[in-house]
């Protein structure tokens, strides 16, 4: 009944791992062909795969795990999806109903453990409830501000001996759940007036634009107004990065021009972004002269940290298209002289300290710089790959130097910052886009957190390209230790303990390549991406001493207070 409901919901893939409490469900999977199952090597990877499958397609990802350790192993992945508002349904087996509460074998209170990191959860009491609960779960996960939903299924509920009339509901109505759709027209008018009167505007957008399929509308709006646009880490790809109106990413490791423009702006249009602490730096010093328009589908995101002058609760695509229509209707346009002066100022910032005007790293060094690896990947893949990352310096370098022109191409764990995300995420993307080039940019630290999935790649023929920026240290930890702990590298160095990643990749049946010289970097990358149907693990030895810049001065800094290199600050 459960698998039938999933099929009727249109589920193509389940990412999972079997176990005692889920065996009835697995038997049902075995006896049909419509819903395909991907067997991972650890449940965390199942959740990350489903998560990235969702991020790259917009569809809901589906996970199936057993009770107890199966369920708890899934927790990190559920929290990752929750923090980044990714629609996902996680079905967990549970011990038989009459054993619940008795500390039975492999029993854990999954609904309780997952409660703070799910949008909602269900415990199935009777088999007859399954179709409606499945329908509700997918509806809740995918509407409003999306998020993960858990369905906990006691084993007896899926016992095959029971028969019930089966009907999959076409629609569900939940009286206590009405996600926001259109924004308030009066507020939208007010926002448009404010935008048209702006002299130093910035459009700041987040994951909501990507998730809400509003990238196209955003691009139209930005170009119609000729306003500068910056994206959050989660929002990259929401606006074409190669367009001249794009200022780059903002925030802790944002560009000088994006952060400085934000600080000096008079009107900020925030769309599908949540004024995260990694963006705002010290909230009390955030953009002192700016009037803030905040569009978000989640009312609780508005005025949570930074108070909005014009709050608009609504789906970003609907609000942006209303804004566009209003601007197109009126003859009023922003003060052209002021906007031109603003652009002149921004371009001057760009030339002075921008990431793209000239290399911001030492190009004469013998060592391979991580920044140039990302730039080379960008060139070799023609800027058109799906790129996943783990968490740390390599993640920030990728966000800075891989210039995403399309939404849903950049897939990383922004909110939770989950190391181990990158490889399973790349696999999840490859499952959804069989012919696409999928790159996982990782480090020798992160990759070891889910490296067992190299085996899953073999089983399902998922030819992802793993680019490991190997600096033989936990780079971001080391950077903070350099900057704040007088270079006392507490437990951030691997010394001689790292495995031979080449042999490891080969042991799983994949191709391993090592790059140690700058001059061979480009050629090796080309060789790697030419191997279309193989998993390639590229171990690139990069300069250990490199830091990610710009970096916000914290604590107590404002948006414009940044370290620009080891020796310069604003």
């Amino acid at each position: 009944m459960l698998i039938r409901a999933l099929r009727d919901e249109g589920v193509e893939y389940i990412f999972g791992y079997p176990g005692g409490a889920a065996l009835h469900i697995y038997d049902a999977i075995f006896r049909q062909q419509d819903v395909k199952h991907i067997l991972v090597r650890h449940e965390q990877a199942a959740t990350h795969m489903a998560d990235a499958y969702s991020r790259s397609t917009g569809r809901v990802g589906t996970v199936l795990v057993t009770s107890g350790p199966g369920a708890t192993n899934a927790i990190t992945g559920i929290a990752t999806a929750y923090m980044d508002s990714i629609p996902m349904v996680v079905i967990s087996g549970q011990v038989m109903s009459h054993l619940i509460g008795e500390d039975a074998f492999q029993e854990t209170d999954m609904v309780g453990i997952s409660r703070p990191i799910v949008k909602h959860s269900f415990m199935v009491k009777h088999a007859s409830e399954i179709p409606e609960i499945v329908k509700k779960a997918y509806y809740i996960a995918s509407t409003g501000r999306p998020g993960p939903v858990v369905i906990d299924v006691p084993k007896d509920v899926t016992h095959p001996g029971q028969t019930f009339p089966y009907e999959y509901p076409e629609k569900v109505k939940i009286r206590s759940y009405t996600p926001a759709t259109r924004g308030h027209t009066g507020q939208i008018k007010k926002a448009v007036q404010l935008l048209l009167s702006a002299k130093r505007p910035v459009i700041y957008t987040g994951g909501g634009v990507v998730q809400g399929n509003a990238a196209e509308l955003l691009t139209q709006l930005v170009q119609l107004l000729d306003f500068p646009c910056t994206n959050t880490l989660m929002g990259l790809g929401g606006y074409p990065a190669t367009d001249k109106r794009f200022l780059g990413m903002l925030g802790m490791h944002g560009t000088f021009e994006a952060n400085t423009a934000m600080h000096h702006s008079d009107v900020i249009l925030a769309v599908g972004a949540r004024f995260d602490d990694r963006v705002t730096n010290t909230v009390s010093k955030f953009c002192p002269n700016a009037k803030i328009i905040h569009v978000d589908i989640d009312p609780a995101s508005i005025s949570k940290t930074v108070v909005a002058d014009v709050p608009i609760v609504g789906a970003v695509d609907s609000v942006l298209s209303e804004m566009l229509a209003l601007i197109q209707e009126t003859d009023e346009r922003p003060d052209a002289e002021a906007i031109a002066a603003w652009w002149k100022q921004i371009n001057e910032w760009r030339d002075r300290h921008g990431l793209y005007a000239k290399p911001r790293y030492d190009t004469s060094s013998e060592k391979i710089k991580p920044q140039e690896v990302i730039t080379a990947i960008y060139e070799v893949t023609k800027g058109d790959a799906f790129v996943t990352s783990d968490v740390g310096q390599h993640q920030m370098f990728t966000a800075q130097y891989y210039r995403f022109d399309k939404p849903r191409r950049w897939i990383n764990s922004g909110g939770l910052g989950t190391m181990g995300f990158g490889l399973p995420a790349a696999m999840g993307v490859q499952v959804a886009h069989r012919d696409a080039t999928v790159v996982c940019v990782t480090g020798e630290g992160s990759i070891q957190m889910c490296i067992q999935e190299l085996s899953t790649c073999t089983q399902y023929h998922l030819p992802v390209k793993i680019i490991c920026l190997n600096n033989q240290a936990l780079g971001m930890v080391r950077q903070w230790q350099d900057m704040q702990y007088s270079s006392r590298y507490a437990e951030s160095l691997y010394e001689d303990s790292l495995p031979d990643f080449i042999k490891l990749a080969e042991a799983y049946g994949h191709v391993g390549m090592r790059v140690t010289k700058r001059e061979e970097l480009k050629a090796k990358l080309e060789e790697c991406f030419a191997l279309k149907d193989r998993v390639v693990f590229m171990d690139i030895m990069v300069d250990q001493s490199e830091h990610v810049y710009p970096m916000h001065v914290a604590p107590n800094g404002s948006m414009r207070d940044m370290y620009l290199s080891k020796t310069e600050r604003t």
């Binding site: 409660r115 609780a300 005025s303």
Partner: protein
């Protein structure tokens, strides 16, 4: 500022834990909490009192509203409302104290609901302030046990919290 938030929610397993969990997860404070089914058995009404400034209360109500099990809620302290709390107090009542306690109960319009030769059990309803005042009047020395239900509240006039 003290606020009374009244929540209408699904009378479903786990609903209460989601509300309570939200408060601990986000570092909000619950002063008192009462919950019981309503005349419609599919709905529960939960009343909680909490402390916080305007900004915090706004966040609390927004996050409560986001919970799927929460149907509707109202901050009663925003308008005219009636609040009541019920308290049972077991006090020593022997000798001269007996008459003194009885007088105090009368003043606060409480009732003595159980009597032994040496103690009374007193029932008293009212606002939380009134109950506090009663306890102060009786004095710590006499009090053996106190149990309070927490605040229940309802708005005055036509305003109704229902589906």
């Amino acid at each position: 500022m003290r606020r009374i938030i009244s929540v209408l929610m699904e009378n479903a397993p786990g609903a209460l834990s989601r509300v309570v969990g939200l408060f601990s997860q986000r570092g909000y404070n619950i002063e008192s909490l009462t919950v019981a089914p309503t005349e419609d058995p599919t709905l529960s009404r939960l009343t909680l009192t909490t402390l916080g400034d305007e900004h915090k209360i706004e966040q609390i109500t927004k996050h409560l509203n986001k919970l799927i099990d929460v149907v509707k809620l109202v901050d009663l302290t925003e308008g005219a409302h009636i609040e009541r709390e019920l308290m049972l107090v077991k006090v020593k009542a022997a000798g001269a104290q007996r008459a003194e306690v009885k007088r105090c109960v009368d003043i606060f319009r409480g009732q003595i609901v159980d009597v032994t030769s040496s103690l009374y059990i007193i029932q008293i309803t009212g606002t939380s302030d009134k109950l506090d005042a009663f306890l102060q009047a009786v004095g710590d020395a006499a009090i053996l046990e106190v149990v309070r239900t927490g605040v229940s509240g309802i708005s005055r006039g036509e305003k109704v919290l229902s589906l």
